[in-house]
């Protein structure tokens, strides 16, 4: 599903990524780990074209998104779900409206929107909070809203950049379990994290970055080895 070939990303005088080659298959659950500044976020941003590689190709579903024209980027992003460390929720809108926001722009009927939003909120266990504003929710709940928003359009790929970075261990576990459930539905899930406990608990494929290079790629791995 995803192929990265000879990816290098350079910022002025420093390399964020150096000659990265990766293959991620459809339906996989992948942890991208590494210390701060290892290049995890840059790698994730390349996948949703927030960054463009200095050299190399980023193929998603057979399309080199490095060459994707800017007007097509929204289409690409609608084909994937993105979850951020800081949730990126619209603070003045309800949980329902946050989840429904993007699909409303597609001209989908209210009935269809309603079904999709309630379905996504059921997956993350927030069916009873549809009218709440993000400020009324805990960090874990806000991240679950963010996940619901990411899956509401039924994407084949979900990218989560440090989804547990702002959460306590209990909430982190809940969020990771939801991501695991989503993966079990056949959605490819890529999670960047430095939460060693989660990586060790779930025993998924682990790709470790160090100084912008892939230093480890292990199936059913742990954080350290």
């Amino acid at each position: 599903m995803i192929q990265l070939r000879s990816i290098t990303k350079k910022y002025k005088n420093s390399y964020a990524l150096k000659n990265v080659n990766l293959d991620i298959l459809s339906g996989e659950f992948v942890f991208v780990t590494g210390a701060s500044g290892a290049g995890k976020s840059t790698l994730m941003k390349l996948l949703y074209k927030e960054e463009i590689p200095t050299s190399g190709t980023v193929m998603i579903g057979g399309i080199n998104i490095a060459n994707l024209p800017s007007e097509k980027v929204p289409n690409l992003r609608r084909c994937m779900g993105i979850v951020f460390q800081d949730y990126k929720l619209l603070q003045n809108q309800s949980v329902y409206d946050n989840v429904a926001y993007v699909i409303r722009t597609l001209g989908i009927s209210t009935k269809e929107i309603n079904a999709r939003v309630l379905g996504a909120l059921k997956v993350v266990g927030l069916s009873d909070k549809i009218k709440a504003k993000p400020t009324e929710l805990s960090g874990g709940e806000q991240q679950r809203v963010s996940i619901a928003r990411a899956i509401v359009n039924g994407p084949p790929l979900l990218i989560a950049d440090e989804p547990t970075g702002n959460l306590d261990p209990k909430n982190s576990m809940e969020v990771m379990q939801i991501l695991d459930q989503i993966n079990q539905r056949g959605i490819t899930v890529i999670v960047s994290t430095h939460d060693s406990a989660m990586v060790d608990y779930f025993r998924k494929r682990v790709i470790t970055l160090e100084g912008g290079e892939v230093v480890r790629d292990i199936q059913a791995g742990t954080y350290e080895q």
Binding site: V73, P74, G107
Partner: protein, 302 residues
Amino acid sequence: MSSSKQNIKKKVKQHIPKDWLTELRIVYRITMETFNDIKRTGIVNIVIITTMAAILTIFGALFRTGLTVSSFAHELGSVLEISVYLKQNADPRDASQQINRLEHVQRVKIIPKESSWKDLKREIDIPDIENPLPDTLHVKVDKAENINSVFANIKKVHGVADMNYAAELAKKIQFLNQVVNTTTVFVVIIVAILTITIINNTIQLVIQSRKEEIEIMRLMGVSNWYIKIPLIMQGALYGFLGATFALIPLNFVENTLNNVHKFFLIPSPLFAGNIVVTTMFFLGILFGAGGSFLSIKKHLQV
């Protein structure tokens, strides 16, 4: 059905969206976004719309006054005539026909020398001498600005001895027309600069206040045009509302100018009010949307 008809049907079908209901929902959502943006702008809306209304009122009033001045100038110009005095042996009918064929000549009236002499004798006490006056032609020109060229061409006509016209008045009318035209262009430029600047700054503020939200929309895959169009519509709506409120003072200007026309017995220009209102709305919406567009181009990176 002929092949040409089938082709037309095919072309029409291409222009109809596959799912018009989806398109309609998107239009509805964009409209709602526009109103949400306006709602968020709060009290500033009143300031912007009032300022737009004031600018458009000044424009509308000047434009309408310009039309009145033009109609007065036209009316004055229409009474301008060239008096052509013929040589004693010249045939007035022949000269009249020659002048009638000249460009910009509307009509030629022959005043026989006997008639002129009779009139003169009626006005002043003249001893009974032989009529010294020549046959005269009164030449009417289509527009005041063409009087000079017609004057020059009549000079070349056989049998013409002398002629004159109110040259100073013609010049003044021409000057007045030029002033009105230049002022209108100048006012349109000022209106454009002012409205575009106001809308530009307002939309910049809207973009700044919604920076985080726009960033989220962008990251979630909301189309660029879906983010941009409500902002352009907001600018256009300010122009529209400004023009709507400007109608109130303009109605007063319209009535006053109509009274002026009635007083001088000069007909009001045809559809003057409609022309002014249509132009005002057109420019308000155009410059409102234009100002918004420029602001988006400069401040919105999507």
